[in-house]
Amino acid sequence: MKRSTLWKRVISAVLSSTLLLGAALATEHRADAAEVSGKIVIAGSTALLPLTQQAAKEFKKSHPKVKIVVSGSSSIAGPQSVTKGVATIGACDWDATKAVGGFPAYKGLKAYKIAKIPFAVIVNKGNPVSNLSVEQIQDIYEGKIKNWKQLGGKDEEIVVINRAKGSGTRVNFEDKIMDGHMIKTTGDNYKEVQKSGDMVNAVASNPNAIGFVDLAYVKGGIKAVSINGVKATTANAKSGKYIFYGYGYLLTKGEAKGADKAFIDYILSKKFQNGSLKKLKFIPVK
């Protein structure tokens, strides 16, 4: 009985890892094959995934002969897979042709700016603080301001929540808000989460937490604070008054050609920029 359960465990573990391995190999293989036959293969940022998926859906209708495969894992996977030739288009939350946020510049890629992404610094809904200056946010993340009382809030220790290294949102936060100041990544009031959704949960479940996330995620138990007195809205991000925003990029190996070019042109078209892109809470770049 015991032995059989043990074996069951061992076997199921092995089988599941095989499946995973197989899946990983399979996707890579498929992507490879797709490139050869001239299909569009998109990989990279999950933040841009809704956008690329929607665009792919619409693009397929007008170009029935082009096959598009869209996937998403993380921003850094975008430039990586294009460089390796696994994907034809990489999606990334920063311009990966330049060295940003500790990541190297990817040479030989061409970046197309496709959308403006508004982000928000968020606190728990019950937190009375509703406005922070950039300096205050820097001080919080550097560990200089430790109590909400110093910011006009309750006498409670601030809990600092950060995304894991490699998150496109974190890269933008470090770029736009921290501006060269280092985040203190230790301490008993600091924790890291994996995804945007986890960030929302962490801030919603802790009354003293502060974090940051795409504006589209702000609802439920969290609220976006104004930065330097400017409310976090798409309108303010569009006008540039609100400073916490980033750009989404599509990357190709060299100049985009053929189907890739047609696809990027479609995303940059007025119709898509002012239609679906806006609906998905991104800001048009054209």
């Binding site: 009985m1 015991k2 043990l6 092995v14 894991a164 490699g166 600091y190 479940s205």
Partner: protein, 311 residues
């Protein structure tokens, strides 16, 4: 002669039919044998492929990082080329230790209750319940831990975050309780009834029977149960990543956000360049986990071979 011939025909017919039946039967046997062989070959190939791939990639880390730094430095800071994994290795061992500290006494007591004290109907009911609990996906435990346990720890200890080794250990204890309990229960039930009766015949009480006869007799089975629980705790990822806080720092006070091997791998693996030292370091951590698990399985096998009434 004339009369024999129908019998002959009949016999031949029967024989042919029988032979045909046997042939089909054996053909199926051979097919099944082939199927079993292919399965085992497939298993071995996959298993060695995993071990090979993980070790090949993992060992590359030592091209850029000294083993001394990897195993004994607590500074994990890939941006500044520091790849100390001591925090994660220690974290994994520490979290497992605290988990066992919580889970073992509870599991063994529960198993003793089920095996020795519970009335038959309750016994059956509890065993079914525990078997069901084993099947609960770990993400469910993790979610409950993050939404119920962590705020509770925050309130109780006054820690600002609440995530940490304690939260992870409690969640893991809940997860491995059913495993340890059921296997211990099996080990206890395997102790011959005569031994219990001998105790009573000598005037021993129930508590003497349990502590002096039952538990010592089943000790190798119990040890196997604990190690199996340990193996599960060490490899668990999703439940842990949700409650541990994921910070590369020591978490000895139990409520400081910290990190372990599994949670750190899953947090980072999607965000690193495949050719980078960080990636190799993560694979090295995976290799370490693999070795830890394998040594546990070996330990269980050895315990089994040693025997005792439970095996």
């Amino acid at each position: 002669m004339e009369k024999l011939s129908p019998d002959w025909t009949e016999a031949t017919r029967l024989l042919t039919a029988q032979r045909q039946r046997w042939t089909t039967k054996y053909r199926f046997d051979r097919l099944f044998r082939f199927f079993c062989l292919t399965s085992i070959v497939f298993l071995i190939v996959v298993l060695s492929a995993i071990v090979l791939f993980v070790s090949k990639t993992g060992l590359l880390v030592f091209r850029d990082v000294s083993p001394w730094e990897f195993f004994f430095s607590s500074r994990w800071d890939p941006e500044h080329h520091r790849y100390g994994a001591a925090v994660f290795i220690t974290g994994t061992l520490y979290v497992t230790f605290v988990t066992l500290l919580i889970a073992t006494p509870i599991s063994i007591s529960t198993a003793v209750f089920i095996a020795e004290m519970a009335p038959p109907r309750l016994q059956q009911w509890l065993r079914t319940l525990l078997d069901l609990l084993v099947g609960i996906p770990s993400i469910v435990y993790g979610y409950l831990g993050a939404t119920l346990l962590v705020p509770w720890i925050r309130k109780l200890t006054g820690a600002p975050v609440g995530d940490g080794i304690l939260a992870a250990a409690i969640v893991l204890s809940m997860m491995i309780l059913p495993t340890i309990t059921r296997i211990t229960d099996d080990a206890l039930c395997a102790v011959p009834n005569e031994w219990r009766e001998a105790n009573y015949a000598l005037g021993g009480t129930k508590i003497e029977m349990i502590s002096k006869i039952l538990l010592p007799a089943a000790k190798s089975g119990i040890a196997a149960a604990v190690i199996l629980g340990m193996a599960r705790a060490i490899g668990e990822t999703m439940a842990v990543v949700m409650v541990i806080g994921n910070v590369a720092q020591w978490g000895f006070d139990l409520v400081t956000p910290s990190s372990v091997l599994t949670s750190h791998i899953v947090m980072q693996i999607l965000n690193v360049d495949f050719q980078s030292t960080t990636n190799h370091a993560l694979y090295m951590m995976a290799l370490l986990l693999l070795f830890i698990s394998i040594s546990f399985i070996m330990m269980i096998r050895r315990l089994r071979l040693k025997g005792g009434p439970s095996s």
